[in-house]
Amino acid sequence: MRLMPNKQQGLFTFAYTVLGLFMGWWMLALVLDSPAVPLPWDAVKSLGESLRGDLLFHLGVSLYRVLVSLILATVLAVPLGIFLGKNPALDNKAAPLVYLTYPIPKVVLMPVFLILLGIGDASKIVLITLITFYQILVTTRDAAKNLEKGYVSSVKSLGATSFDLYRHVYFPACLPAILTSLRLGLGTALAVLFLAETYATQEGIGFFIMDSLSRMNYEEMFAGIIAMSLMGFFLYLLLDQGEKVLCVWTRL
């Protein structure tokens, strides 16, 4: 999926999509007429105020947690995934373990991590890393496994070492799949982040939203929701642009 096919057309599409979203929200707010769904401009106004308050701090904490988790998951899962995809014999040995542990909803381990790692950043980062790790691992492994072996032998015939093969063949060939799994993983990471930040913490955008809820300050709650959505949007945009720059060859 391409976010913006063409710059001008893309900006236009983007503008009326945002406008449409606000229109929908506005109508919903009018129809429901509930304090739980404030009017869009009240929420935006509150967002402006909160940004001058402590929202930016909470946003920063959340951004730190999600970025560190995604980077950690990538650094761990990509080499392992390529290694397993490259060595089918080892993959066959590891497959049952991956197969059995992949469907476990790892988010239920949150209480365990809270006890073991405390209520700070570590427990949240480990949880998000663990969950996105699996998505990246499985996608990368399959991409490496399905790589046309002709490329490998042609580079081998140039006298390539194992490291050369990783660097010039496996990694670049798997990169599009890795970035796709990161984009999917980003959605999961943000969802898990929210959950992790709603319990036993005083920091992060999840806390900000739930704290506003408990104070019945719904405008501020929506400011938090908008802020978190924007954070997700910009991270997504970053990955999309990264793919555009790094994987030119897939769009030829």
Binding site: V155, G159, H168, V169, V248
Partner: protein, 259 residues
């Protein structure tokens, strides 16, 4: 004293297919002098590619003797192999593909740049240097594949049906091109093809193979090869006809050569 650069004697190769032992090559003998272009021609399934993989050092399970410059082939760095597909990495540009072999061999950067620039210039590839393989025509792609092999300065060039996916015109163009390159470098070259015209145009020594198991049926000296205007000549047609006769097992069938 080794006279032949390439010397194969009583080469035999077996492989296992569905539990059965299949003889791919049987008592193959061939020799090729240094600086010559040899062509192996035969129907599909006659073991041409098996022969090539032995010469390239990729297949070491054979009987008989194979010597390249007096040594057993090990897939070493003196032999370059060009295949029909998968030669070029789609995620690297023409330039990156060409310098890849040099990078892998740990040459220093200025050396790499110099060698690659010379080869790009020589092969008219400079305007294409920043393109990806997907942006090239089939003929251009094979030119890049040849450039990538030549930049490594091999002693022996092996080509396994390199042009078979090209249309007739592009094919003749790149045959001319290969001939020019060969004239300039005098690189010992062994080419596999199933095209009779290609064999006659390029091969100074043509090895005609028969299938099941692969054997060299006939070794033909072809003094015509190397003439750029050969395709329009009567002798070219005659030689093709003769080769066709050999391929059909010596029977002349409908191909009469005596004019």
């Amino acid at each position: 004293m080794i006279e032949n650069y390439l010397a194969v004697s009583s080469l035999g190769v077996d492989y296992w297919h569905q539990g059965k032992k299949v003889r791919a090559l049987d008592s193959v003998d061939l020799t090729l002098d240094r600086g010559k272009m040899g062509v192996v021609i035969g129907p599909s399934g006659c073991g041409k590619s098996t022969l090539m993989s032995v010469l390239a050092g990729l297949n070491t399970k054979y009987t008989g003797q194979v010597l390249i410059d007096g040594k057993t082939p090990t897939g070493g760095l003196e032999t370059a192999l060009i295949l029909q597909d998968f030669g070029l990495l789609p995620w690297k540009t023409v330039w990156e593909n060409i310098v890849l072999g040099l990078k892998i061999r740990k040459k220093n950067l200025s050396e790499i740049k110099g060698a690659a620039e010379i080869i790009l210039e020589k092969m008219n590839l400079i305007p294409l240097a920043k393109r990806y393989p997907a942006q090239l025509s089939g003929g251009q792609r094979q030119r890049v594949a040849i450039a990538r092999a030549l930049v490594l300065e091999p002693k022996l060039l092996l080509m396994d049906e390199p042009f078979s996916s090209l249309d007739a015109l592009a094919r003749e163009e790149i045959q001319d091109f290969l001939l020019e390159i060969w004239e300039e470098t005098k690189l010992t070259t062994m080419l596999i093809t199933h095209s009779i015209e290609e064999a006659v145009f390029l091969g100074q020594r043509i090895f005609v193979m028969s299938p099941c198991p692969g054997r060299i049926r006939k070794q033909v000296e072809n003094p015509l090869a190397g003439d750029h205007s050969l395709r329009g000549r009567v002798q070219f047609v005659e030689m093709c006809s003769l080769l066709r006769t050999y391929l059909h097992g010596g029977r002349r069938e409908t191909y009469e050569t005596d004019a």
